[in-house]
């Protein structure tokens, strides 16, 4: 954790989360049934929500750095957080896809779903915690076996 964060950094994260969660709830994406309906080609709302959000963020990522040098409240520089490509993107994407297709939940939508009062989604959140923990255990075991391995992220 960086100690020199601007005091407004965490409150801004909270506001971002509020808007993000409201959007997921409002668009029905916090309901696993709606996601599963999309994956079975019965309701194409998800495409509009996901790519609509990508277009909005894309416009912001492309335009705002040209207008301003730094964020108005925190003074942080604008930057994209690009991930390097390797085989893990395909392997992890496929594992994620099986889980998403089976349950209709993804990390952001699961938390938003809890906010809508969907208590049963705690099964999915518990599953995500177990899965993320297992992956960390597995990765640290693999890393201790091969000392030269560099961290993926």
């Amino acid at each position: 954790m960086a100690q020199d964060r601007h005091p407004l950094f965490m409150p801004l994260i909270l506001v971002g989360g509020l808007i993000f969660g409201f959007g997921l709830g409002f668009s029905q994406m916090a309901r696993p049934e709606v996601v599963l309906d999309f994956l079975q080609f019965e309701d194409f709302g998800l495409l509009f929500v996901m790519f609509g959000a990508a277009i909005v963020s894309g416009i912001a990522f492309a335009l705002v750095p040209r207008i301003r040098d730094s964020a108005p409240l925190t003074g942080d520089r604008y930057e994209r957080r690009l991930k390097s490509f390797d085989r893990n993107v395909l392997v992890g994407g496929a594992i994620f896809g099986v889980g998403w297709g089976l349950s209709g939940i993804c990390p952001g939508a699961a938390y938003a779903s809890l906010g809508t009062g969907n208590v049963a989604i705690l099964w999915a959140i518990a599953g995500m915690f177990v899965g993320a923990y297992l992956q960390g255990r597995w990765r640290s075991r693999a890393a201790s076996g091969e000392p030269a391995v560099a961290g993926a992220d």
Partner: protein, 67 residues
């Protein structure tokens, strides 16, 4: 409350937890921020998990599991 069975939520959640970490992102990270950043890694990630998820959901539905 969701009608989706708890075992689907829990098992799917485990795979989502593993896959998000291994694949460096999820529907929000790759799908919204990554695609918005025009990241080739994220576009490949989205195509991968979208294709696999559609296939999985279709197979599960074809097996008669509902909801």
């Amino acid at each position: 409350m969701t009608e989706v069975h708890p075992w689907r939520l829990f098992l799917g959640g485990i795979l989502v937890g593993i896959g998000t970490r291994v694949g460096k992102g999820c529907t929000s990270g790759h799908g919204v921020c990554g695609v918005g950043s025009a990241s080739k890694t994220s576009i490949v990630g989205v195509i991968t998990f979208l294709t696999v998820a559609i296939g999985t959901a279709q197979v599960v539905a074809a097996l008669g599991v509902s909801p």
